[in-house]
């Protein structure tokens, strides 16, 4: 099977003024099959989020290659990378990543707005997406009126609205209580399973990682042997 994501020797190095450079991602080899749920585990500072950024095309590898949906990320222009994210990926953040000046519905509709969908179409689909995550009728709600769990569900709805092939979730439940965390993970897992989308979950929580089809572990920018073997 052709992998949806393929990293070969992917490396990301940060140069800090007055200090030695740091390899946040060090020669990582990773492939993810379509529909596969992969959890990337590791302590803080191990390079999990940096790796996720490379997969999303938000950041670029200094060495090796990252291929997503057959596209070598390094060969894409910034605009092409943005379009790939918009059309094929859904991203969920620990800090929700919502735009405070927009309503819940408008936040969910943002990927469609960026794709040029009409106001009616995008708000209609946003309402449906909110219903799917259990926030029926929350379209016009202001972000600062929502609880943490509700905010993250808005974030999940936004990630799913364009029916992505790849869902990237960076510590999506790190700020939530157990109940809300469980609900959000349920939503992501269900969406992945139902839509056939691959799900990459970055977490330091073993319980969350346990839900994945495959768990990989990172330390000091590298995938550890036990992680690769899982």
């Amino acid at each position: 099977m052709i992998p949806l994501v393929l990293c070969v020797g992917a490396t990301r190095e940060f140069i800090r003024a007055g200090a030695a450079s740091v390899r946040a991602v060090d020669r990582v080899d990773l492939d993810i099959a379509p529909g596969e749920f992969v959890a990337i585990e590791g302590p803080s500072g191990s390079g999990k989020s940096t790796l996720l950024g490379l997969l999303a095309g938000i950041d670029q590898a200094d060495g090796g290659s990252v291929t997503v949906l057959g596209h070598d990320i390094a060969r894409l222009s910034p605009t092409e990378r943005a379009r790939l994210r918009r059309s094929a990926m859904g991203v969920v953040f620990q800090a929700f990543g919502l735009v405070d000046s927009l309503s819940a519905g408008e936040n969910v509709a943002l990927p469609l707005a960026l794709d040029g969908a009409s106001v009616a179409e995008r708000l209609g689909r946003a309402a449906d997406a909110l219903t799917e995550v259990g926030l029926d009728g929350f379209d016009t709600a202001r972000i600062d009126e929502l609880s943490g769990g509700e905010r993250q569900r808005v974030g999940v709805a936004r990630a799913l609205i364009a029916h992505p092939s790849l869902i990237l979730a960076d510590e999506p439940v790190g700020s939530l209580d157990d109940e809300n965390a469980s609900q959000v993970l349920d939503l992501l897992e269900a969406a992945s399973r139902a839509g056939g989308a691959s799900l990459v979950l970055v977490t330091h929580d073993p319980q969350s990682a346990a839900r994945a089809d495959r768990r990989v572990r990172m330390r000091d920018g590298r995938l550890t042997p036990e992680g690769i073997a899982t």
């Binding site: 989020s49 940096t50 950024g53 999303a56 938000i58 950041d59 910034p78 605009t79 943005a82 379009r83 994210r85 918009r86 059309s87 990926m89 991203v91 953040f93 620990q94 800090a95 990543g97 919502l98 735009v99 405070d100 000046s101 927009l102 408008e106 943002l110 990927p111 707005a113 960026l114 794709d115 040029g116 936004r158 990630a159 960076d170 700020s175």
Partner: protein
């Protein structure tokens, strides 16, 4: 907690915030410093202006019997004296003329004796008619009119002591500008503004010495044209002046004169005391220069208020910029305050820390700004500044600027700082104090100020400044502070009203659909974002509007000021250019003047003629070409238009327009025949008949009351004298006396509007506002650009996480750029449009300040469209730069790091 260390750490930690706030204060300080220095430099200008038209700086009056040569040597030895001219005066008690069996007589006056170089040295006593003949006299127009004198007549003068002298008249002399040396010389007479004599005869020193010899020693003038002439019964009884006065007129070395009128007066006083001490018992000085500077100090104060007023909005704007910078860093301040509080800092310590940081930042900005302002001042008007005792001025200005801007900037930043600390204390991220409108909105102070501005403009409009003549006959102005009230209130009210309006409009989000249509998805996000940031966006719009308004109103004021200067000059010079031949030429010489740079030229005759016994100016013109070179207004004529008047002179060669005074004195009406005596080429008077065509109230080159306007060709034919006085010309571009003079060669003397403008200007209007306006407009553009850049950058800083989110979910660089561009467009368009509108209104109210300074006053403001468009283009360039800076900053955002921020 060591506050000093923390202040330093905070400034370092928030380096960008510190620099932004300091930049705002620096702009304010630079503007203030340059205005202070402009005020000093303008002191030099008005001092030079006040002394430029003085024929002499001082009069050394010799004691009876004093040796004139020894006194001259003593005066020349003084390092401040540049040149001397002997000047003797003999008062006469009356004069008579017996001619053709009838006798006329007039009252007292003066006979003056001058040396051969007197006219060249002082510019006084230019010959209007006839010629100068040794042993004979040339008489003032009043004396000629009073006695009915014409060249060739012999007048008898009754001298003090009972002797009389018969003197032959060889010409008419213009005594304009000579009041100072013809009037009384003692302080007491000058103090009551005694009138100078109008019956004046000028002769050579030798002839006058003979007359003086006939007067007994100690004789006094019977009526020295003083005291009795004032018409003030409460005036003290003054001792009469001596009948004979020997004077030496003095010119000082201008280069040694301090620029400030006050300092110049002190310097002149010192010179007077020194000369009087050295020549004790021989010389007394009448300090004419010092007397002329008397009203200048007051004028300068008026001017400096005007300069400060013109620049005040700029200073206020720059301080607003500083405050804006403080507000822009609210998030950072709150964050740092939370950190320190967590480490145990008390509220008092926090206040001390942030206030100390703000003050230190303000001092830093003020010092940098004052240095920059000094540099700019030397760059733009350094030559005037050099004479104004620059070191003292700069040090004083520096201290004032740094103190004032630091104080104002600290006060301006104090409130947002307090809000930030309070907000941090209560909820961390909620903006307090925004929940209910500010006090001025609740009290409707904006609307009240606008209504008051309208009322004040209506009540006192046009009465701001009044020109008056001082005792020495110099034009001066008096200040009515009310003239500043209307523009000030309009500015304040307009600003606040604009703020109210934009907040209300933006918070309703009407722009979102339009922005989405124009800028795509980025525009949609920008529109929605503007709703939530309505307060900050409104402040940016108002800042930009005020900067544009400041530039527009200042430019309009200056253009109107310059226009009125030229209108004044145009009326006096007659046209763009005036070429006076140094030899006798006829009307065909006008063709010589026409050529490159000159489109039309018109010959002109200005000759002294006699209506009855009264000497008047006859202006003989070419009615076909004159309307193309001179501005002829319908208001110049009574009962006809300018075109009608020129048509009458062209179709009826013997037509003549007379002054209203002449028509009244001689009871003549249009159609009546008038016989006028006009000198021919040999100076003989010939009687020429005219028909009155109408009344002329004003005419180019003829600011005087009594004059006549006739057809040049007719006058030449009737007198057999084709000679013209000068040629008036219209230029195709900027009139330049130098270029025309170069083309015409040494046979002509050419003057242009620029030189006349400078000569006519009174003390305040002599100041060239161009330099100040250049500075003001430059700062306005800078403030507009920096203000918008700050708004955009603050927006980016506040919304870093939002922008990172947009990038992460697939917004491409163009869409993110469109977001910034949409915000720039909204702020730029609204700010510029509102700025032009309020600038226009403030410009109109500023006209009130000009009313009375110029005659005629400006009816409508002169909007310099090209300059305003240039300012708008400069602002647009500034906005584009701000946009580029913001876009580049946005692209440098670390998306992953921003997304991890909470």
């Amino acid at each position: 907690m060591n506050i000093g260390v923390h202040i330093w750490q905070l400034m370092n930690r928030e380096r960008r915030r510190t620099l932004a706030a300091a930049a705002g204060v620096a702009i304010a300080a630079a503007l203030m410093m340059s205005v202070v220095l402009f005020g000093s430099a303008s002191g030099t200008t008005v001092t030079r202006r006040a002394l430029a038209d003085l024929p002499v700086d001082g009069q050394a009056i010799l004691a009876p019997g004093a040796d004139s040569a020894a006194a001259t040597a003593l005066l020349v030895a003084d390092p401040t004296v540049r040149s001397t001219q002997p000047f003797d005066v003999v008062h006469f008690d009356g004069a008579t003329l017996s001619k053709a069996g009838s006798a006329t007589q007039t009252s007292s006056g003066v006979l003056v004796g001058v040396g051969p170089g007197f006219q060249d040295s002082t510019g006084l006593f230019s010959l209007s008619a006839g010629r100068i003949v040794p042993g004979q006299i040339v008489v003032s127009r009043d004396l000629a009119t009073n006695l009915g004198l014409t060249p060739g007549d012999s007048a008898r003068f009754l001298l003090a002591g009972g002797q009389s002298a018969d003197l032959v008249v060889s010409g008419i002399v213009d005594i304009t500008g000579a009041d100072l040396i013809l009037g009384p010389v003692d302080e007491a007479h000058r103090a009551i503004a005694a009138n100078p004599p109008v019956n004046v005869a000028v002769t050579d020193l030798t002839t006058l010495a003979k007359l003086a010899g006939q007067i007994p020693a100690g004789a006094v003038a019977s009526d020295p044209a003083a005291g009795a002439n004032t018409g003030n019964s409460a005036s003290p009884v003054l001792a009469p002046e001596p009948a004979v006065l020997h004077e030496i007129l003095l010119r000082y070395d201008d280069a040694q004169l301090p620029g400030n009128p006050g300092d110049a007066k002190v310097w002149l006083d010192g010179v007077r005391r020194r000369i009087e001490r050295v020549g004790a018992g021989t010389i007394t000085i009448a300090d004419d220069a010092s007397a002329s500077l008397e009203p200048v100090a007051a004028d300068l104060a008026w001017g400096q208020v005007l300069f400060v007023f013109l620049a005040l909005p700029g200073v206020a704007l720059a301080l607003a910029l500083s405050r804006f910078a403080a507000e822009s860093s609210a998030e950072a301040t709150r964050g740092y305050a939370s950190l320190l509080r967590a480490r145990g800092a008390s509220q008092r310590q926090l206040v001390s820390l942030f206030l100390g940081t703000t003050t230190l930042t303000a001092v830093l900005g003020a010092v940098i700004g004052a240095i920059v302002g000094t540099g700019l001042a030397f760059l733009v008007f350094g030559s005037e500044l050099g004479a104004a005792n620059p070191l003292v001025t700069i040090l004083g200005g520096f201290a004032l600027t740094v103190l004032l801007t630091t104080l104002l900037a600290t006060l301006a930043a104090a409130q947002p700082l307090r809000d930030q600390l309070r907000a941090e204390l209560v909820s961390g991220r909620q903006e307090l104090g925004r929940l209910r409108p500010p006090l001025w909105q609740r009290l409707y102070l904006d609307l009240l100020a606008l209504v008051a501005a309208g009322a004040v403009f209506w009540l006192v409009g046009g009465s701001g400044v009044h020109p008056v003549l001082n005792a020495e006959g110099n034009p001066t102005v008096t200040l009515a502070l009310t003239s500043f009230v209307a523009p000030f209130l309009l500015w304040i009210g307009g600003t606040l009203f604009l703020l109210r309006l934009t907040v209300r409009l933006l918070s309703r989000g009407p722009l979102t659909p339009l922005l989405e249509r124009l800028f795509g998805p980025g525009g949609d996000v920008a529109g929605r974002s503007l709703v939530s940031r309505a307060g900050a966006a409104s402040r940016a719009i108002v800042l930009l509007a005020l900067a544009v308004s400041f530039a527009t109103s200042t430019l309009t004021f200056e253009a109107t000021y310059r226009q009125q200067q030229r209108v004044d000059a145009g009326l006096t010079l007659g046209a763009d250019l005036k070429a006076v031949p140094t030899t006798v030429v006829d009307a065909s010489a006008a063709a010589t003047v026409t050529g490159p740079g000159v489109t039309v030229a018109s010959p002109f005759v200005d000759r002294v003629v006699y209506v009855g016994s009264e000497a008047q100016d006859l202006l003989a013109i070419d009615p076909t070409t004159l309307p193309h070179v001179a501005t002829l207004s319908d208001s110049f004529f009574q009962g006809t238009t300018a075109v009608g008047a020129m048509g009458a002179l062209a179709s009826q060669p013997d037509a003549i327009f007379v002054s209203a005074e002449t028509a009244k004195d001689y009871s003549i009406v249009p159609g009546d025949r008038i016989r006028i005596r006009i000198p021919d080429a040999h100076g003989q008077l010939r009687e020429v008949d005219f028909h009155m065509a109408g009344v002329a109230l004003e005419f180019p080159t003829a600011p005087k009351d009594a004059f006549l306007v006739a057809n040049l060709d007719y006058v030449a034919r009737q007198t057999g004298d084709p000679a013209i006085s000068f040629v008036l010309a219209a230029s195709s571009g900027d009139p330049s006396a130098a270029s025309l003079g170069q083309r015409l060669g040494s046979g002509w003397t050419v003057s242009d509007l620029g030189s006349v403008t400078a000569r006519l200007a009174n003390s305040v209007t002599s100041v060239d506002l161009g330099a100040l306006v250049t500075l003001d407009v430059g700062f306005a553009i800078l403030i507009a650009s920096v203000g918008v850049a700050l708004f955009l950058l603050a927006g980016l800083s506040e919304r870093k996480r939002e922008l990172a989110t947009l990038a992460a979910i697939g917004a491409d660089p163009a869409q993110l750029g469109a977001l910034v561009a949409a915000e720039t467009t909204v702020v730029g368009t609204a700010g510029t449009a509102a700025g032009i509108l309020t600038g226009g209104l403030v410009g109109v109210t500023l006209l009130g300040i000009l009313a009375g300074v110029f005659d005629p006053p400006a009816d409508v403001p002169n909007v310099p469209v090209a300059a305003v468009v240039a300012v708008i283009l400069a602002v647009i360039v500034g906005l584009l730069l701000a946009n580029v800076v913001a876009t580049r900053t946005m692209r440098r955002i670390d998306v992953l790091a921003a997304l991890r921020e909470r």
